[in-house]
């Protein structure tokens, strides 16, 4: 089956799954286009419908050279009073990695491990309470690709 179509079907299937009350805000259901967008810009547009300005108030910590692209530790911190935080990269077939919903009064200090197929740039967007977008980028080299091919 054509891969695009397959993805589309997956989204439909996802939408049919009865929503449990557990999900306060699931961005995969809210903004399905974000997850199929192939460029970082498209993904940001699909998610927020706006463009971001670079900000010094976000700290993005990732290794300059990642020996294992299958598990790259990334830490995001910001002093901005954030509503959501989103992470994208340009090395994989689709660009969106994760979207955090920051709880009221929450602390933005998130670490997770991600996969990158090859060297590329990680872009982090922080949406503040007013809906303004702030971004930060970091380019890193990946020695061994992490998508098992």
């Amino acid at each position: 089956m054509d891969r695009r179509k397959f993805l589309g079907l997956g989204m439909v299937a996802l939408a049919l799954v009865p929503a449990t009350s557990l999900h306060a805000l699931d961005f995969r259901k809210e903004k399905p286009d974000t997850w199929t967008a192939q460029t970082v810009d498209d993904a940001i547009k699909a998610l927020y419908g706006a463009t971001a300005t670079e900000s010094k108030d976000i700290t993005l910590k990732a290794p300059k050279v990642a020996s294992n692209g299958g598990a790259i530790p990334v830490t995001i911190k910001t002093s901005i009073d954030a509503k959501t935080v989103a992470m994208f990269q340009d090395a994989n077939p689709e660009s969106a990695v994760a979207v955090w919903t920051v709880p009221e009064g929450g602390i933005v200090n998130y670490t997770t491990k991600i996969k990158m197929k090859k060297s590329g740039t990680i872009t982090v967007i922080v949406e503040d309470k007013a809906g303004k977008l702030h971004s930060v980028k970091q380019t890193l080299e990946v020695a061994l690709g992490g998508c098992e091919g």
Partner: protein
């Protein structure tokens, strides 16, 4: 149960949590090669009581057995309160695990 490793410790009004979920996180590309269906965690939520302290919508590009580290404020929480983590994957499966927050008074 027992699918997740949760460590959560409170000090000075802030709790630091470290959660590792056991999940293959099979991407569409990798799944195709293996002849399986792609499956990965799409949503993970952390709660203390009714209060949401962590929420993430994710794609297939989180690492295998993904790690989540985060912090949250502990005002209003008391000894014995638990951090409850729940994930949902693409197949619709969910797992919930909870752990007592250490260091609360």
């Amino acid at each position: 149960m027992g699918n997740m490793k949760i460590k959560v410790k409170s000090a000075g009004g802030i709790a630091k949590a470290k959660v590792q979920a056991k999940h293959e996180m099979l991407t569409y590309d990798a799944a195709k090669k293996k002849g399986k269906d792609a499956n990965f965690i799409t949503h993970i939520i952390g709660k203390v009581g009714d209060k949401v302290v962590y929420e993430l919508s994710s794609s297939q590009f989180l690492a295998k057995d993904p790690l989540f580290k985060f912090e949250f404020k502990t005002d209003g929480l008391k000894d014995g309160d638990k951090l409850e983590m729940t994930w949902t994957d693409l197949s619709g499966a969910t797992e919930t695990d909870a752990k007592k927050i250490k260091g609360l008074k």
